[in-house]
Amino acid sequence: MTIGTLYTGFGYWNVYAWIMFFAIGALVVLFIRFTGRSDYEKGTYQDEVFYGGNPVPQDGEDLAVPASSSYWGFTKALASFYEVLVNLHTGILSDYMGFLIVTAAIISLLILL
């Protein structure tokens, strides 16, 4: 398999073009970095990322705001309904097969009767 240019009908994709793009991007970033102040004291508070004055969490998970935060109130209000649904998901295959058979039986009854 050779690395060539992929024409998509909307443009093209080429691995060398991507490498060039990232190389130019890296040069721009380095240039901006070099123009910054160099009198920061390493290893002190000065060197830290500004995180509202708080210590920067080492674990990435603590930094992220999960998408579920945006609908927290919705799930809280419907908690009793969700609890039933979550409890139904036992992870045991025979349970799921049971749901399938019962559902198929009910649908069959509705169709046949």
């Binding site: 123009t35 102040r37 009198d39 004291e41 002190t44 000065q46």
Partner: protein, 158 residues
């Protein structure tokens, strides 16, 4: 080759003062007065003053509140993250002396127990005019620090 010319950078500084505001346990009274500075009535931006959202962009630190134990480290961290030269302006009686909270068990403050304070603005809360006056006094202090930095050839954090 592309290194920032600190002397040139410090030459730009006196034209305006940008402030970062930190509430270290205030009741919000002083904070509301600081926000009032931005309203059309007081409009500090006509003097080139501005509240900024990051200490990295600030020349001055406005501190309100008596500094609770929880905020001590955070205040130190924010102060350290402001590039020099920098000034600290305490807004309100709480930050200046602890005011009614001065004997409280959970205070590390007032602010001058934690940071080197340059200007105190008294009042509970201080009027916006008083805060503007305090910030203009801070500009004079900032100018002195800038000269010190220029004489020492830049670098370091005054």
């Amino acid at each position: 080759m592309f290194k920032m010319d600190i002397k040139k950078e410090l030459g730009i500084l006196p034209k305006s003062i940008w402030a970062f505001h930190c509430n270290s346990g205030s009741c919000n009274g002083c904070d509301i007065e600081i926000v009032a500075l931005l309203t059309p009535r007081y409009d500090i931006e006509r003097f080139g003053m501005k509240l900024v959202g990051s200490p990295r962009h600030a020349d001055a630190l406005l501190v309100t509140g008596p500094v609770t134990k929880y905020m001590t480290d955070r205040l130190r961290r924010i102060y350290a993250q402001i590039p020099g030269p920098k000034v600290v302006v305490v807004v309100g009686n709480c930050g200046a002396s602890g005011d009614v909270f001065y004997k409280s068990y959970n205070l590390d403050g007032p602010v001058d127990n934690i940071l080197p304070v340059d200007v105190y603005v008294h009042g509970c809360p201080p009027r916006p005019e008083a805060i503007i006056d305090g910030v203009t006094k801070a500009i004079v202090k900032l100018e002195e620090k800038r000269k010190e930095l220029l004489e020492s050839g830049g670098g370091g954090n005054v």
